[in-house]
Assembly symmetry: D2
Homo-oligomer: 290 residues x 4
């Protein structure tokens, strides 16, 4: 069971940022577990992630870290230094929903990792435009909503989806090979909180049928990409990518099969890093604090 | 010292192709070392590479394989079966020229591998639009021609280049980060015999300054691609690709440095496979017989 | 639905082997889909895999390939040329059993791939010394046998396991992180038909707790290995290996988590290749016809 | 041209370490470029690397960072907190010697990278027990000493080597496939300052002829490892490792050829990281601050 606080910061770079932040944490008695900084020298930006303990493991008589007191104090510092920041208490598990289509390898993989304790979240909801994953969701004890989508019914379908997301208090939407394009209105409701997997090494082969395009071009490696969804299709900040070697012997159906392994891995990594507050978005890129 | 024959075949697929070819080789007494076939089922095409010994190692009194006799016999078979084919005697070393710019890591790598015996060819000629590689070429005992190129002088420069290629009997041109675009007229003189390295994972980031583009897009892997040059820039048949993992910590200059390792490897593999007659082009793709 | 025959051959190398085999297939009218050969020049051995169609897809009036007739004819040729060989009709799906422990990621992965059609087999049986996987097996409609094992009861447990394997007609046993050592007597019942996954890059870190050993040694990559089980622990013929990069930031529990992805991939590849008759064992090594 | 200071620290973990170090740097006006920390929670150890500017780029009227003043102040803090530490001025280029044998691919690669500016050091000396690399050293303008070694003359040879190392003020010794075992006496003179490349994925296949051993075992990947040399052969702290996929088609000579690419890469990375003060040794492991 996690029992830490995580502070994510980005701000204009200047002298003394690490000293100011770590000084304040020291003052409040934080026992830092991990700290990592990054400077983008071209853009003059500073990024930081700090994680510290909230309660000592052998806490007899100890009062623990005063998180709300610290939050108040830090807000002043952050304002002074023009910081954007989020402070998370990892004892709270984020609530995630999975969207899928008839392709079930990614949703099955995420649910299996969730059960194995790899993903630090609640998963109260699976939504699909196909009925296929109903049984799988039931096996993992997760509510399944079958919401068909056609071009004519997209708006109503999205309204229904959003209703369920709200009712279940969803904070993260994972598109596990969902295969439908979400409207700008939908996307704007979950900024940097919708993760998609695209079955190519972006920016190569964006759009539909990337394995067919890869086969036609005769590439020697195929890839998969997980990214945050923005209004521009396949152009959101990339979180993770991986590739695997293929040869002239691989027909399209082989690419599809081999790609499934890539998709599972890049999507599950992205979800885990998001849940562990390891990702900072800036511009159209990500910093991954590993 | 190599001492084999290599037969490369492509033709419309039909029953009995392996039997006919291997039967003829058996008839002529060939001792086959490697044989590999591939069928593209979508296109109905058949590809084959066979390599066999020309002279036995302990050849006392032995007369060796009758290559010209076999060639004559095979020509009839090939005509009957509508085969495109090439028959190579590996005792003949192909003659390669290297084109380079001020960036010398690829030309240095190729010359070092050549000296180490990895590349089965002669390299009588290095041509560059910069003077920098002169000393390097001299160290390896290779003629160096400094032929500056501007947009105004491209035609004369290419004429001079072609003159040298002809005089030196060049059969393969390797563009080792040459950074100049060759004219269609030049390219058409060396069909499937000009190998280029592009410093990205094609088709992503074609054109100029791919490392800058990769950095701007925020990809998590960078790549390099070796390919045959055709009239369409960066769109020729891909021979080899490789990638390496990067992170937000890598600025453009790091991408450039790490990319050099990729470029060396994908270019040298392409050259070696070409020299070993392991590559068959069809459409805009390659079969690599490994 | 598969509908092909696969012939796997190994024998002492000599001239004309490809010609003889492909000639016979041609004579019997085989439409070859894939053919691959390999020579181990050091050992003077020849290996071959050929796959051809049994019934044409648009079979109106066609009688199909005469497999038993061919088998009879080939047996003579094989005897003459001292071949070891197996001829498989892929319309028959091999029957596989999965053995697992409390660690369920590999068994869950195999069952999911099986359902998705990636594994060409029947899976009628899961056996475990823990009860944990019962629900999972039930979800996939597979019989689950909970057979506890202690050092005192190993013999009886194995007797019971073998009984179930026989009753269900099992031809392949997959040890999906089973964590128990099988007796020589058990192993000898399934020669080259028990596949294990070891959670290290063999031969490094054989034996127990390889992730702990890898962490202690400070390696920069961890790996996983799938192999056929022989009487010598972790020393059977290697089928597949893969690795992933780690750093000083990874504690043992991270290695365990990241290793799970490797284990799933190397084990499932091994099982698929075995089922597709792509593996030939010789000495303590494998030829993988890909 | 580099113009920074690098501080490497390791000490028992306790609260406030980052705050104390970054606070002192802030007090002295340091403009931090990179900072990275790591905690080994099992061992209760803390590791830190900080790099900051020494002179502003547009230094009109600016006096720069007072490095010796800071060093004095930091020494007190370090004593109080039981820190082991090194403070480096990157305007000083370390002096490295390369030892090689008849195999020249690694020494050629290092010298080429050095010329290209990838390695921030001086290389005044190449020592070999073979004469082969003389010409190569001359090409790069580096002194070459041919010091033959036999088991009978090892002691005298090492005495002569040490003499040259001292005369040339060598701080780092790179064994670029040197193939000779150094005595404990020699090794103890350069603690954590001799880098070797071993042509296997350690700890697999330590000792002689690892490619032969890998071929005999039938592994599916081969590797290379760079590490600091300690008194125990092939057991020093690992700096970097990499692997490449092989198949049954690769004979030993192919493994050797493909391994050369791995060796070049893992050795050159190790040397670069060492020169950039990115490596901290503890116990028998390394922290690589990337």
């Amino acid at each position: 069971m996690k029992n830490t606080a995580v502070l994510l910061i980005d701000c204009p770079d200047r002298k003394g940022l690490v000293a100011r932040v770590s000084g304040l944490l020291y003052e409040w008695g934080a026992n830092i577990l991990h700290a990592d900084q990054h400077r983008d020298q071209d853009l003059g930006l500073f990024f930081m992630r700090v994680e510290w303990e909230l309660e000592p493991e052998d806490a007899a008589g100890s009062s623990g870290f005063d998180l709300s007191g610290f939050q108040h104090a830090f807000a002043s510092l952050a304002a002074e230094l023009s910081m954007r920041w989020t402070l998370s208490d990892t004892r709270h598990k984020p609530r995630a929903a999975i969207f899928c289509s008839q392709y079930q390898h990614c949703v099955a993989d995420l649910l299996d990792r969730w059960r194995a304790g790899e993903l630090h979240c609640e998963i109260p909801l699976v939504i699909s435009n196909h009925a296929d994953a109903a049984e799988l969701a039931r096996f993992y004890g997760v509510q399944f909503e079958h919401i068909p989508v056609t071009s004519a019914t997209r708006n109503q379908a999205e309204a229904l989806q959003l209703q369920w997301l709200e009712r279940r208090g969803i904070e993260l939407v994972v598109l596990a090979r969902y295969m439908q394009i979400l409207s700008s209105a939908f996307v704007s409701r979950y900024p940097a909180a919708i993760i998609n997997v695209h079955h190519s090494f972006l920016p190569a082969f964006h759009g539909a049928r990337p394995y067919h395009a890869a086969h036609a071009r005769g590439v020697k490696l195929i890839g998969a990409t997980s990214h945050y969804v923005t209004e521009k299709l396949d152009e959101g900040p990339i979180i993770e990518q991986d590739v695997t070697r293929i040869s002239h012997r691989d027909q399209v159906e082989n690419l599809v099969a081999r790609g499934r392994d890539l998709e599972r891995i890049v999507l599950s990594r992205a979800v885990r890093w998001h849940l562990d507050r390891r990702i900072l978005c800036y511009g159209n890129k990500t910093v991954i604090f590993d």
